[in-house]
């Protein structure tokens, strides 16, 4: 399997991954989108060294995954795959910030490690929510939500059109790559010159295809703007979803919930 095919497969799999019979499926995509953005904003607003405060927010992605029947494994795999980006930058923190900030018994933990930990937690939270968004709502629905949220139609129709043809183009690309691999034997990887050649052919075919699609569109009356028919209607449940979760996020941001929970439990125990 070429890399292209693997990537395609995972895209296909993630799009509207859960079509389970849960109420999440009927949730207005605008509600999902707004809540997700609120979540990300709140998570990224936490201080550099604030690990504890972040923890309650785990409940959001976990609940969504559970309700929407999204497999933890699929999200987890993607998280691991993208983690190098955050790790590579974040790992400098322990290198540059050596001041011991925290003592657990005899062990001193530097500020750098604390902030690195915070970065990784933020990473897990923000990335999983972004992935869950598409998995639960589906890309097309999100695009409809964008139109309703006043994003320029030209841009949204570009998103939809491009997405539709990614599979086609990637399919063509993967065929060429496969043909190359089958004739490459011991040589690993692709020379730049070969790459340029493959890409150029692909580009030419793309341009031809664009022309043919245009012909097809025009023969069905296309005059410049793609007609849209969908009407999204927000239900009270959707509004409640956004408000309740946002309230929870703000609460978690303003008050150190785990600390309270800890105090509470310890009071109870003693």
């Amino acid at each position: 399997m070429t890399k292209v095919e693997t990537v395609l497969g995972s895209m296909n799999g993630m799009n509207g991954l859960s079509r389970g019979n849960t109420f999440i499926r009927h949730l207005d995509p605008r509600a999902m989108l707004i809540t997700a953005m609120a979540f990300i904003v709140v998570v990224t607003s936490f201080g550099k060294y604030d690990i504890l405060g972040l923890l309650p927010l785990v409940i959001y992605p976990v609940s969504l995954m559970a309700l929407g029947n999204v497999s933890f494994r699929s999200i987890g795999k993607k998280l691991v795959y993208v983690s190098p980006f955050a790790i590579v930058i974040g790992i400098f923190n322990p290198l540059f910030d050596n001041q011991i900030l925290v003592q657990i018994g005899d062990v001193g933990i530097s500020g750098g490690w604390v902030s690195f930990g915070a970065i990784m937690i933020k990473f897990v939270l923000t990335v999983s929510v972004a992935l869950i968004l598409v998995a639960l709502s589906g890309f097309e629905e999100i695009c409809h939500a964008l139109v309703k949220l006043k994003v320029p139609k030209v841009f949204v129709s570009q998103l939809l059109f491009m997405h539709r043809y990614i599979y086609v183009m990637a399919d063509e690309a993967s065929r060429m790559v496969r043909a190359h691999t089958l004739r490459s034997f011991k040589r690993r990887g692709m020379k730049i010159s070969v790459f340029c050649s493959i890409i150029s052919q692909l580009l030419l075919r793309t341009l031809d295809r664009a022309h043919r699609i245009h012909t097809a569109m025009v023969s069905r009356g296309f005059a410049g703007e793609i007609p849209v028919m969908h009407g999204l209607k927000a239900a009270p449940g959707d509004v409640a979803f956004v408000l309740l979760w946002s309230a929870f996020f703000v609460l978690a941001r303003l008050y150190n919930l785990p600390q309270w929970l800890g105090f509470f439990v310890m009071e109870g125990l003693t």
């Binding site: 295809r209 025009v218 007609p227």
Partner: protein, 244 residues
């Protein structure tokens, strides 16, 4: 009734890069006729078909659809009556879902949403693809794509169907389903294809095109019995006629 007539008169066409494609093509197809268009690769089949829906305009000569000569000004009106189905269904299914693709034509024609919905569901029912309505086009099989591509055109209620290689890439069963479907249509049909057995099943009349010229135009059986004509045009007898 008369807008079912398709007439070409001395069509000439040259591509922008200078290659001449059509040299004085003339024919007249009447209401309800089913005509096959066969010929070697590069003979000009696709080019000719594109002239019939106003995708290309001749350098000289005229095309008449019904009573109207096809000009750049009345192209939109004419397109309501001519439904063109392309060789690669991926080129024709460009909306996020099957439903939206089939709705594209009627919406562009300015129909109200309820009417559009009815047309879409009717068209999908005719081709047997109702269950695919909410699927994205990249998630359906080749045969299903063909069926949906036909639906995208049917929803505009054309009088004339123009098809470019409709059976290529189809497995035998899908192909048979396609032939049965097309047989049931009473539209005027013009089918460009290499599939000579399909032509035998569907078209009582056949035109042979070679290097931009119509070299034969007559009853299908006659054409397919003329071995010299067939060989000259990179063709063979239909499979079912071979070995006789």
């Amino acid at each position: 009734m008369s807008h079912h007539i398709v007439e070409a008169h001395d069509l000439e066409y040259t591509y922008p890069d200078g290659t001449r494609a059509l040299y004085g093509v003339s024919f007249r197809i009447t209401h309800g006729e089913s005509v096959g268009l066969v010929g070697a690769n590069g003979a000009g089949k696709s080019t000719l078909l594109q002239h019939l829906s106003g995708c290309l305009f001749p350098v000289s000569g005229t095309v008449h659809i019904g009573d109207f000569p096809l000009t750049k000004r009345n192209v939109d009106d004419v397109r309501r009556h001519v439904g063109m189905i392309f060789q690669d269904p991926d080129d024709q299914l460009f909306m996020p879902s099957v439903f939206e693709d089939v709705a594209f034509g009627p919406l562009n024609l300015g129909m109200p949403p309820q009417e559009v919905e009815k047309r879409v569901m009717d068209a999908l029912a005719v081709v047997g693809a109702t269950h695919l309505a909410n699927r994205p086009p990249y998630k359906i099989s080749g045969g299903e794509k063909r069926a949906v591509a036909i639906a995208t055109v049917l929803s505009m209620a054309p009088d004339i169907l123009v098809l470019d290689e409709p059976s290529s890439g189809l497995d035998p069963r899908s192909r048979r389903q396609l032939i049965d479907l097309l047989k049931a249509f009473t539209h005027t049909k013009i089918i460009a294809t290499h599939d000579l057995d399909l032509v035998m099943d569907l078209c009582e009349r056949t035109m042979v095109i070679s290097s931009g010229r119509i070299v034969a135009d007559g009853p299908t059986m006659e054409i397919f019995s003329d071995e010299t004509l067939l060989t000259d045009n990179h063709l063979e007898k239909p499979l079912r006629m071979q070995g006789v």
